[in-house]
């Protein structure tokens, strides 16, 4: 995965069908997507077009109804729940629209959470979490609880939690969707810096054209298929 032109995410012929009673909803149809190592991809599309569904498939949170998903050359669509959980812990960092921090843990311990699944010692976990909080500029807020932080700050903690395990890919689902312009811009700058300075591969779902300008490439999801151009 060191080669910058190597295909990291390889989605081929993917269908995702949901059942709602007797009705079948074809959210993704014969979808192909390749993302190269080191890319910062923006994924846009109308609400309900399946952006989160696609992100979930890439992140191993869900499995396709048909087709294959390979990350770094490894097929993940055939893994069982337990294997997928272990795989996610190693390869995926997730950033959510509503931050999804655990309210009962302070910033430091929220960031340490994914490290509980590693073999790191308590001291190492603390050091790694402190380093991640430093990267997102919240070194001094490590003992604050989520309710004591602004939205932008909570999202920074969310990003620190996502990068603390040094994952292969960072998946962000509308990371600025709940933030004002200024905080949103700060988050985007942070993601951009992670992409440029640390070479993190990032896939970001967004509704905001401004946000997509920060990415190195933008794709549009429409009626279950991907387009390189905005259809509107």
């Amino acid at each position: 995965m060191s080669n910058n032109h190597e295909v990291l995410v390889d989605v081929q012929g993917v269908d995702r069908v949901f059942r709602r009673g007797s009705e079948e909803i074809h959210v993704l149809q014969k979808l192909d997507l390749q993302v190269r190592q080191g890319e910062f991809l923006a994924l846009m599309g109308p609400s309900g077009s399946g952006k989160s569904t696609l992100l979930n498939l890439i992140g191993g949170l869900d499995r396709p109804s048909n087709g294959s998903v390979a990350i770094g050359g490894e097929r993940i669509d055939g893994l069982n729940d337990r294997q997928l959980a272990a795989w996610r812990a190693r390869h995926i960092g997730l950033v959510f629209q509503f931050y999804n921090l655990l309210p009962v843990l302070n910033a430091q311990r929220n960031v340490e959470l994914p490290l509980l699944l590693t073999s790191l010692s308590a001291t190492q976990r603390r050091e790694h979490a402190a380093a991640a909080l430093d990267i997102v500029g919240l070194k001094d807020r490590n003992t604050s609880f989520p309710t004591q932080l602004s939205g932008g700050e909570q999202q920074r903690v969310g990003i620190a939690r996502a990068i603390v395990t040094d994952p292969t890919i960072l998946l962000c689902d509308e990371p600025t969707g709940d933030l004002d312009q200024k905080s949103g811009d700060e988050i985007l700058s942070l993601l951009q810096a992670l992409n440029r300075e640390q070479g993190k591969t990032i896939i970001m779902v967004t509704h905001d054209p401004h946000a997509s300008h920060r990415a190195s490439r933008t794709v549009y999801l429409n009626k279950g298929r991907l387009l390189a151009e905005n259809p509107e």
């Binding site: 569904t53 949170l61 869900d62 996610r88 997730l94 629209q97 309210p103």
Partner: protein, 386 residues
């Protein structure tokens, strides 16, 4: 153990709810421990009996007396090793509510019959030399603060003293301890010879005999032989093993033990609902968080374990505190209850059952919510974020 912090902090999420749940569990286990000690006091006496001993009493009831002459006749029956007489004195100290067991006995015979009474040699000697001497249990001595050398006035509604005063006076010459835990040390024993000589009426009569036999295996045969000996006499006898006698006595409390059990069962069922509801609520209200844990890489089994651990923690906290408190309370109350409820203590077996109940409670209360959490599908759990 690195997940301990996560589990603990989840309990702090709703401090009041956790505190109330732990408190309910605590009270249930306190009740369990306390009632366990009461039950032990009521029916535990059966365990302290000696299969080598028989009780020979009047066939009609324990209140009727037997002639003193039976002693020699019982001694001659094959299989009988020794015989000693007892009589129910019903001594009252100052006030009828100051109740304890009091018996005129043959000192040497008593101590020989009950090796579990431990009495220093010089006190045995003093008893043999003091006609009005009495030997009392440690529990009784503690209850009234009686010491060796004290003179104790007792009245008996059954056996008034002859002479100018009906009040008996005894000199405490010894205090016995129990060789076995839970053994009764609330007894007041004094000399039969003094009693028989000084009582107004009923001279030469005995309440019942305790008989030592050569082997427990012969207990039925010997009992039958004794009863046959006195068949068709004015005072026919009924002989049974000490265990059966104690059992018959405890039978009166058997119903209480059953009621105690029923109460405990109801309490634990309620507690199960309380703890189960707490766990179910706690899982329901953090569906989204559980989705996040799974998304981060927690396996389904790990999520199940985390929720179960929370349930165990609540059960262990409440149960541990409750049992601990019960041990302390029982120890604190035991001296003041010693005379009404000798043998009032929390047997280790009861604590072991308590420990098992803690585990069962933790599991049963937590398993359904834990399975719900385990089966949560990530994508759906996360969709509930907004």
């Amino acid at each position: 153990m690195k997940f301990a912090g996560l589990i603990w902090s989840n309990l702090k999420r709703r401090r009041l709810r956790t505190a109330l749940t732990v408190l309910s569990v605590l009270i249930a286990f306190l009740l369990f421990g306390f009632l366990g000690a009461i039950k032990q006091a009521l029916v535990g006496g059966v365990d302290l009996t000696d299969a080598n001993r028989l009780i020979v009493r009047h066939r009609v009831s324990i209140i009727q007396t037997l002639p003193v002459s039976y002693m020699n006749r019982i001694t001659r029956i094959p299989g009988v090793v020794s015989v000693t007489p007892f009589t129910w004195f019903n001594g009252i100290y100052q006030d009828p509510k100051n109740f304890f067991g009091s018996f005129p006995v043959d000192p040497a015979g008593l101590l020989d019959m009950f090796p579990e009474f431990s009495l220093p040699a010089e006190q045995r000697k003093a008893w043999a030399e003091t006609r009005t001497g009495a030997v009392i249990g440690r529990g009784l001595a503690d209850r009234f603060g009686w010491k060796i050398g004290d003179r104790i006035p007792l009245n008996s509604p059954i056996w008034p003293k002859a002479g100018s005063s009906e009040t008996w006076e005894f000199d405490v010459v010894g205090i016995y301890d129990a060789g076995k835990k839970g053994a009764d040390t609330s007894g007041f024993y004094f000399r039969y010879d003094y009693f028989d000589e000084a009582r107004q009426r009923g001279k030469g009569s005995i309440g019942w005999y305790t008989v030592r036999i050569d082997s427990p295996a012969n207990s039925a045969t010997v009992a039958k032989a004794i009863d046959a000996e006195f068949l068709n006499s004015p005072a026919e006898t009924k002989s049974e093993s000490e265990g059966a006698f104690a059992q018959g006595f405890a039978q009166q409390f058997g119903d209480i033990a059953a009621i105690v059990l029923a109460i405990l069962a109801a309490v634990f069922f309620t507690i199960l609902l309380v703890a189960g509801n707490t766990m179910a609520q706690s899982v329901r209200e953090r569906t989204n968080e559980l989705g996040v844990l799974k998304a981060i890489g927690f396996s389904n089994e790990r999520v199940l374990a985390v929720i179960l651990a929370e349930s165990f923690l609540i059960a262990a906290l409440g149960g541990g505190l409750g049992l601990g408190l019960a041990v302390m309370l029982v120890a604190a109350f035991a001296p003041s209850l010693a005379t009404y409820l000798p043998g009032f203590f929390l047997p280790p077996g009861q604590l072991a059952i308590g420990a098992v109940l803690i585990v069962v409670l933790g599991f049963v209360a937590g398993i359904l919510p834990a399975l719900t959490a385990m089966r949560l599908r990530i994508a759906e759990a996360l969709r509930r974020s907004a």
